[in-house]
Subunit: 634 residues, 2 copies
């Protein structure tokens, strides 16, 4: 029996406990014994779970929110009620810095409570799908031909597939046929003299020949406007062997899709140049990933690629002109299976690339993938699924029907067009908190601050609004930290004085601020999003509080503090428990479609049934938008 | 009433007749009135039908054989009985120089009686097939999308095909999809504003978009080891728009397939180099043919290519190693449909190339095409089909079953490895006749003689055998025209004296002779062929005289004098009426398969049912071959 004195928000508490507790943090998968009497924040640090904590653990910032799923813990402190509603506490939500385990515990860490780097690690780990890939490996034994029976190699193989595996009428891809005769004669069983083949079939087509011992692989790609995420999977086990992220090299020719379409129209060769840029980047990434996993690109029998409709069209070499002009028409929305070679992809010789269906010109296959990943059709409740990006796609699931829309939220969430905005790079302020006139903040990688990334901007807005420095209209009022630079009011978040106090010996930084202009950018973005949500609810005859679940996907959406988003009115004011931040759901959907032909077929049906709601011509768009630009929850 | 005196073989005949007769020559399609009392040879000359006549029309050479199908003609002369059997005369066979019409007549000219140039003209004209191409054009009308209904272009098109043509579930080739949006917006009906599309379907796949007014075209190719024949067809009418012939450019890297396979094995890049040579030649030829017909290569919706198995493999980029070595195994024998782009062919964007099935390593798709062209499965009789070339393929049809074999007849028939052998070029002696010690001959294009082509060599052998200068063993005996050069006996066919007498002012020629060595080459070739025929008959339990029809295809086979071939024992000693020389039947078969998907399916079934007879390991091969090398009919 040991006694501990814990300082929590100025209160001294005396607790009796056993020597250790076994704590399991989900979904990061860290677990281990920790001394009894310590807080969950301490345990998390010991086990390497990087919880966000701006105040250092005194219950002052309310960021280290976790959910206790199993086990006994200390009673809630008064200070926690500043950040959590009673119903949320009833569901096990707590601040980690104020919670002391009193038995072994299982604790869920919402993505928003993790630092960016650790969130990247766990992305896509939550997938659960029956592995039923569209390609399969068959082992076939052939008797070498003789003068008395000089049967052609291809005929021998198809006959053997019929005889040995009941697979009638298999056809051969021409590139596989080109390899077959040599491959067969190189795979002789030394004892029997027979040819032992490992043949890859996709439905009734022979698309590849595997060397002995080579695994059957698949590639899932989320082709984002800014970032490309690739996943190399073992199609037998369903395991992700390598994940890989890179910038979309097209970004040098336009930050958003509209700029890239404009570039592609300047010269007839530009569109194919942009296409080749991406294809080369993908092929190069595949080579690197395969090297890392000690496998061959030729073993990749299948690929699923998702992206927004413009990225989809660029990648396939489809015309973009009609997509960028009224009435915004995609060349195709339905799912496609295209030979990898016809797209310039260097995979298994006869393999196909599957493109999930698009929904509309500005609701792409990446959104379909997200809906697949969150299994929206299995939902029993009213569910809102939001993929936040430069373009934000929103779907509402209600009574078996999905209605989707899209709104131009602009690049502000990604740090663009914001005075001190940066992407989610090392040193980006990802969370901040205003305590009196002092700013507490956390940067990605704990590096010296270089600017504000999306979640940091959102926090800044929320903190300024709560402190009354921003009013409902978004106008910035006087405050010791507000100054006027070049005729624009700015709120200083970090200045050189702050920095020199904190990080002695580091390179001095410029001032980091949020300007009146930045606030206006964010208001436009959040206004567009909320308008989309509002009009989807209207179309379904639903009130906001009838939404049971809100699923938030996309890089930005995963990093944001839900409370901040509710505070400024970007997300509906609903209990925390109704929100789920799912990370790169598009990438996860691509993986699911790669692993399961059943899910692939479901996506096809899903996309066909989705109703698309056009906002641009909606009679209520302008009035709703004007109203939804206001700050504050409503 | 007019009286004519006709000198025919020294006989004076008096005939009474009307002023003119209407004479129709088949299959050349020449017809017209000709003065009564003249011979059919005269009529032929008047109407531009180039009958072979070595003796100038005196019944001396027996080459101007025709068959009177309808109408009354003069009675046979005694001299005709030297060249025609009574039963043949009973069937209307006559010498044109001895036959005078006594009414309007319909006359068939066997290919062997025509000069080479004219035979080329009529090649492939005898085709009769119901035009049922595998591709079809559909006219589709689309309503341009609006903001209220911004349906994707591809979806609009497939919906319209379903609604307007009952065609459900059409898929789109990626290259067509790349063109669709732009094409649709360029084909607006000026009155209705609707989009008027002409869409090409191949089964359920959209493989092309036709411009207004463009015809739907097809390409048939006979890819020979030596020559390539191309035919551009209108798939709507079945009409051949352009025929085109060129040398196979691979010939610079090996005259026969064995030499080319050896070349391809010298370096890893050689096989693809040979492939590209042919592909480039085909693409170039297509461009030229299209220019001639004022059409676009993009309108070619379908292609059928046939060749021997080695040419087939070279063209497809399949490995050849296993084909050239015991036990001689093709990579594939079954029919193939391959995207034109995967073969490097520049046709309609989504089009396919169809490869008819091969039968064995040395009985290729060109033989399948021949069997299709002669409609062998419809035969009611015992039929022998022979495609004579460097490699000779022979099929025997008996009681519903086709047995095929192949024998290496060597390049002698094509003039190679023969001292004064030449290909069938201008000036090649194509027919000759020994009258006493004098040689009468005919050259291609009536040009000064440059050497002997295949049919000339055959005539020379036959004439020498008939005159006793060659004995049964093929040994050359003394004769005023026989001399010894470099230790080898030669029979002088044309020498400078002859030449100067005939063609004054022409460039003097060297002596043209046939040597003992040449005779041996021919004996090997004809011995191999006859062995193939003999063993096929044995396998079917048939005697030679039970063969009802002999079909002879291939360039050489079309040009030969059947009588000469029978004389030396290259062809079985059967009545002339049982023989049919069908020209480039492989090319014709390719055309038929192009025009008719029914025939294409028939070819598939046919090839699967064919029994292949291997000669190399046949126990009777050597004894039969030794016997069949002897000259003389038996």
């Amino acid at each position: 029996m040991v006694q501990y004195y814990i300082l929590c928000s100025g209160t001294i508490i005396l607790i009796e406990g056993t020597v250790t507790h076994f704590i399991h943090f989900e979904p990061v998968g860290r677990r281990g014994d920790a001394p009894a009497g310590e807080t969950l924040l301490d345990h998390a640090r010991t086990l390497g779970v990087d919880l966000v904590s701006l105040c250092g653990g005194g219950g002052g910032c309310g960021r280290c929110i976790i959910q206790v799923l199993e086990g006994e813990v200390s009673k809630p402190l008064t200070v926690e009620l500043d950040f959590l509603r009673p119903e949320e506490i009833g569901q096990g939500f707590r601040l980690a810095c104020c919670t002391i385990p009193q038995s072994d515990c299982k604790v869920r860490v919402p993505p928003g409570s993790l630092t960016s780097l650790q969130r990247l690690e766990i992305e896509g780990d939550e997938m659960s799908v029956d592995v039923l890939p569209i390609t399969e490996v068959y082992r076939v034994v052939l008797t070498p031909p003789t003068m008395d029976d000089p049967k052609a190699d291809a005929g021998q193989l198809t006959d053997a597939l019929a005889r040995q595996h009941d697979l009638d009428g298999a056809s051969l891809d021409i590139d596989v046929l080109r390899l077959l005769s040599t491959y067969a004669r190189e795979n002789v069983d030394p004892n029997s003299g027979e040819w032992h083949l490992r043949v890859v079939l996709r439905e009734h087509e022979i698309i590849g020949l595997l060397q002995s011992g080579a695994p059957l692989l698949g590639l899932a790609v989320d082709l984002g406007t800014t970032k490309i995420a690739l996943y190399l999977l073992d199609l037998n086990t369903g395991q992700t062997l390598v994940s890989h992220g890179l910038m979309n090299p097209q970004i040098a020719y336009g930050e958003d899709v509209i700029a890239r379409i404009a570039f592609s129209e300047k010269d007839i060769s530009n569109a194919s140049f942009l296409r080749e840029l991406v294809v080369e980047a993908l092929n190069q990434a595949v080579v690197e990933m395969c090297a890392k996993a000690d496998v061959e690109p030729f073993s990749i029998a299948d690929a699923v690629i998702v992206g927004n409709t413009a990225m989809h069209h660029f990648f396939l070499g489809l015309p973009l002109k009609q997509l960028a002009r009224v009435p915004y028409v995609p060349a195709i929305t339905s799912a496609l299976d295209i030979k990898a070679r016809d797209l310039g992809m260097d995979l298994m010789p006869g393999s196909y690339v599957h493109l999930l269906p698009n929904i509309a010109a500005y609701v792409g296959a990446d959104h379909t993938a997200m809906l697949l990943a969150v299994d929206i059709e299995q939902e029993q409740h009213v569910t809102l699924a939001i993929d936040i990006g430069t373009n934000t796609e929103i779907s509402l699931f209600n009574q078996g029907v999905v209605t989707s829309t899209s709104c131009a939220s602009g690049p502000a969430f990604e740090g663009a067009h914001i005075k001190h905005g940066v992407r989610a790079v090392n040193g980006a302020i990802e969370h901040l908190h205003l305590i009196d006139d002092r700013i507490e903040y956390q940067t990605i990688g704990n590096a010296p601050p270089v600017g504000l990334c999306g979640s940091g901007i959102l926090d800044a807005m929320a903190q300024l609004y709560l402190a009354g420095i921003l009013d409902k209209q978004g106008t910035m009022h006087d405050h010791p930290r507000v100054c006027t630079v070049d005729g624009t009011r700015e709120f200083i978040l970090v200045d050189e004085v702050d920095l020199s106090q904190e990080k002695v010996g580091e390179t001095p930084q410029l001032t980091i601020s949020i300007t009146q202009q930045d606030v206006r950018q964010l208001q436009l973005a959040k206004g567009a999003m909320r308008t989309g949500i509002e009009l989807l609810l209207n179309a379904n005859g639903l009130r906001m509080d009838e939404i049971d679940h809100v699923i938030i996907a996309g890089a930005f959406g995963t990093y944001i503090d839900i409370r901040s988003a509710i505070t400024i009115g970007m997300l509906p004011d609903l209990p925390l428990v109704r929100f789920r931040q799912v990370g790169n759901a598009a990438g996860m959907g691509a993986k699911i479609a790669l692993l399961s032909r059943v899910k692939r077929a479901e996506a096809r049906v899903l996309a066909e049934q989705i109703k698309y709601l056009e906002l641009a011509t909606h009679p209520q768009f302008h009035t709703t938008f004007a109203h939804k630009m206001h700050l504050g929850s409503d």
